[in-house]
Assembly symmetry: C2
Homo-oligomer: 259 residues x 2
């Protein structure tokens, strides 16, 4: 099987075209492909350079999200006919709306207000990481709870960066678990609590990396903590997400879409 190169050409960050390319190529499992991102192709000169590079790669595939006709023309003249996401989707939308598109560059990430609310959310999530500043929990959109190393911090940061949500996270310590009730500071925020859990095996594997051969990382200890935590979640009717087989995107999307 020959390995192919798939180029992702964008006049901006390339986030959209990379996402589409990965999803489309996942539907061709027999094809072994590696991706090369060519972002910020925003002048005819850069488009000509990109075209030359793609044309010089045997069997290359090219995906693109270019809106400027001059950039598309430069690729075409360089002998590259990419699968262009906008080319394929926009005409269908034009037909449905009965109005022509205005090539705008498709820059959807440049809004300052959006940027600021997301940076504010990141700062919030860092400030309220791992149980810090519990007096500010009332300002949180969501509060993630769970035992140590269950993925609370990365999930909180992803929700902040991707969706601008202010997400605190609060660890359940062995002491909390032994006491048999959620920490008092959480009880006034029950509707915004979301619990994360993992299989015992997965949690033990994650803890092993940090503290090999410790009691903390033993399968028995992990299982004991997870069972005790599950009991607390049930007792207070906190929605629980088992993240054992999930990517951080999936965990975040599920937490966000939950009522």
């Amino acid at each position: 099987m020959t390995k192919r190169i798939a180029y992702c050409v964008s006049d901006h960050t390339g986030v959209t075209v990379e996402a589409v390319t990965k999803s489309v190529l996942a539907q061709f499992p027999a094809l072994e492909c590696s991706l090369i991102a060519l972002p910020f192709i925003d002048s005819p000169e850069k488009a000509r350079e990109a075209a030359a590079r793609i044309a010089a790669t045997p069997g290359a595939l090219a995906f693109s999200t270019l809106t400027d006709p001059a950039l598309r023309a430069a690729l075409r003249e360089g002998g590259v006919l990419p699968f262009d996401v906008f080319d394929l989707v926009v005409p269908a939308v034009e037909a449905a709306l009965g109005q022509p598109a205005t090539p705008s560059g498709g820059h959807t990430h440049g809004m300052t207000g959006d940027y600021e609310s997301r940076m504010d959310a990141v700062n919030f999530s860092l400030a309220l990481d791992d149980g810090l500043q519990p007096q500010r929990l009332d300002q949180a959109d969501l509060i993630l709870i769970g035992v140590s190393r269950v993925g609370k911090t990365p999930t909180a940061l992803y929700l902040a960066l991707q969706y601008g949500l202010r997400v605190a996270n609060y660890p359940l310590t062995p002491d909390d678990l032994e006491r048999g009730s959620l920490p008092d500071v959480l009880l006034t925020h029950l509707p915004r609590l979301r619990a994360l859990t993992l299989s015992g095996e997965r949690l033990a594997a994650i803890r092993q990396v940090r503290y090999p051969d410790s009691r903390y990382a033993s399968l028995a200890q992990c299982r004991e903590e997870l069972v005790a935590a599950a009991r607390l979640f049930q007792q207070h009717a906190v929605p629980v997400l088992d993240a054992t087989r999930m990517s951080v995107e999936e965990i975040a999307a599920r937490l966000r879409s939950r009522p």
Copy 2:
């Protein structure tokens, strides 16, 4: 102008369909649209519910990334004909490759190895945030430097979460700037340093939110620090990115694509 609703239907997280929808709608500036995400539509029953909701919304647009024919059929039978990204792009790729696609669900985010390397990168970036643990800087893929509040931490976390890069960040303090040289601990890592900067106005506005009316947040102080920092960057030939008008996606994509 009527405000329309654009539904983003996905059998998974919806990251891809939301990115495409936003980019496509940006090309219809006269159209006022709000997005509603319908992720995890992964059974015919959920697809029927989604179809009913969409069909009941006057003038609704629907974008989708569904690979399972049964789910597409359920939408269609509910009277919804979405702009389906895969429907529009995959046939072009099939024709070019001369091989049929295998509807796989398009789940590109589920790979455990990928998840682990990204979580490892997040933990690394948090551990080496704000100059912490400088003895581990040799393990970093990139080291972001710049004055306080220039956006180092969110950028480092985004690069870790999105691309799995291990990114440290190191603040340049007024003391460093006065000394007129980069901190010694950075000098052995020059090839991996990347500098962030902002306009004085923007930096002052950001600092004002945290410490209103302080000297730290004054325009004069911000400008002075930025000028002194720029001198250091030039002196050591550190690549500089002016992030004043950039989203975190753009900053990250530019840092990543820089040689």
